[in-house]
């Protein structure tokens, strides 16, 4: 009884903490809405950026960074957007308003600063590639957007799990918890997917995004009509972990849902090619957005 009461109190505290998450900026929300429209025009992205002075400055800083090696620095937003592409512009907009929570150290997962943001970014890039292998056409833009937000729940849960990474890992190793999701649920009564879903509702994310965030580790539980993009993010998440870009103590401690093969036709060889391409694109994007170069290679 006491345990149940304590569990309810923790859940309530987590949900209260969700409400303290900073809101999405108008420009980030508009860009996400725009990404969901298949018939959009690049000019619409340009207009959104131009209306946000802070975003304008960040977009220009990124496009003029050494990663893009432009012959001449540009001050044209239209040229910058065209050069960077809509997805990177969305990434910059999201970083501007969520960076404070996504880039801080993930103490509960023993993850370093930037680990969550980098993992989300790599998942997004991988999910977009995986979407191209869907049996029925799905939006690679939605897969990317969902990927970049899929683990937002960890930003909230991290502080509630501070100091528990060792215990959780031992439990999973000993077979007392099936995976990290089960361990989170057992410890807090919620997991990072359900917390992420609450954040998505708070942010009023449109279309399938809340559902993808909620079921990215349990795609078979998603509604049939959104299951294919959920599987794309599920696989994107796994590709990011396999590539060494995880969030900390939970790396590799999740289950692959074999049901992906009903929605996505992807071979071992396809996966290896995707891993290679994703790593190249990830490094380039990270370098331009964060100025973080890779180590010796």
């Amino acid at each position: 009884m006491r345990k149940a009461k304590r569990g309810m109190a923790i859940k309530e505290e987590i949900l209260n903490r969700v409400k303290e998450i900073p809101p999405l900026s108008t420009s980030a929300s508009q860009l996400m809405m725009l990404m969901g429209k298949p018939d959009r025009d690049l000019q619409e992205t340009v207009k959104i950026v131009e209306c946000d002075l802070g975003l304008t400055a960040k977009v220009l800083r990124v496009v003029n960074s050494s990663a893009f090696a432009l012959m001449q620095p540009t001050t044209s937003i239209a040229r910058a957007v065209s050069y960077l592409g809509e997805k990177m512009v969305l990434g910059i907009a999201l970083d501007a308003c969520t960076g404070s929570i996504l880039r801080r150290p993930m103490k509960g997962y023993e993850g370093r600063s930037d680990a969550l943001w980098e993992h989300n970014l790599m998942t997004a890039i991988a999910a977009r590639r995986v979407a191209g292998f869907a049996k029925e056409e799905i939006s690679s833009d939605i897969a990317f957007t969902a990927g970049i937000l899929h683990d937002i729940g960890k930003a909230v849960l991290s502080e509630f799990m501070n100091g528990s990474a060792g215990d959780i890992v031992s439990k999973i190793d000993a077979g007392h918890a099936a995976d990290y999701i089960s361990a989170e649920q057992e410890m807090l009564g919620m997991d990072h997917c359900t917390v992420g879903f609450e954040v998505a509702r708070l942010w009023k994310l449109a279309g399938p995004l809340p559902e993808i965030i909620r079921f990215h580790h349990t795609p078979a539980r998603a509604q049939e009509e959104v299951r294919a993009p959920v599987y794309a993010v599920h696989l994107g998440d796994i590709i990011a972990m396999m590539g060494g870009t995880g969030t900390g103590s939970d790396d590799m401690m999740y289950c692959l849902d074999a049901g992906f093969s009903d929605y996505i036709k992807i071979s071992q060889s396809d996966l290896e090619k995707i891993m290679l391409d994703v790593e190249v694109e990830f490094k380039r994007t990270r370098s331009s957005m964060f100025g973080r170069e890779d180590e010796t290679s």
């Binding site: 900390g248 103590s249 590799m252 692959l256 074999a258 290679l276 790593e279 290679s297």
Partner: protein, 162 residues
Amino acid sequence: MGVMTLGVGGLGAARDPGTVIRTHALGSCVAVLLLDPGTKTVGMAHIALPESRINNGKAQETPGYFADTGVPALLSEMKHLGCNGNGRGMIVKLVGGARIMDPNNTFNIGKRNVLAIKKVLWSLKMGVVAEDVGGNISRTVAVHVDTGRVVISSSGRNDWSI
């Protein structure tokens, strides 16, 4: 103390006492460690994929990325530091090659990486002395040049050695 940090596909060798070679978050990647007792030289490669044939251009640019090009490239790097270049007498250790939880082993790139590395080593008549591979663990590994000590770490666990 000098620290040489390798990224994905990176490789490097050192013989200066006090140097540490390390690589982070291996995931399904595998770190190949070569220790030459004769010259006290240590080398490491962070291998991401088993076979270079999927992208020959990448293999030329970053040979350490693939098992079949990474091992010979590491030996060549160590030859520049005075090692024999054929690997004879070297101590070989492998770390990494983790897998996601999947009873069907659908995408076990980690295991494929380990097998591909061993195949190359066998062709060079080299054998693995110690390994810490597989499982659902993303490992970080560091090797100390002066002692040859290999230290493995992973979030949520105490460090261990092989």
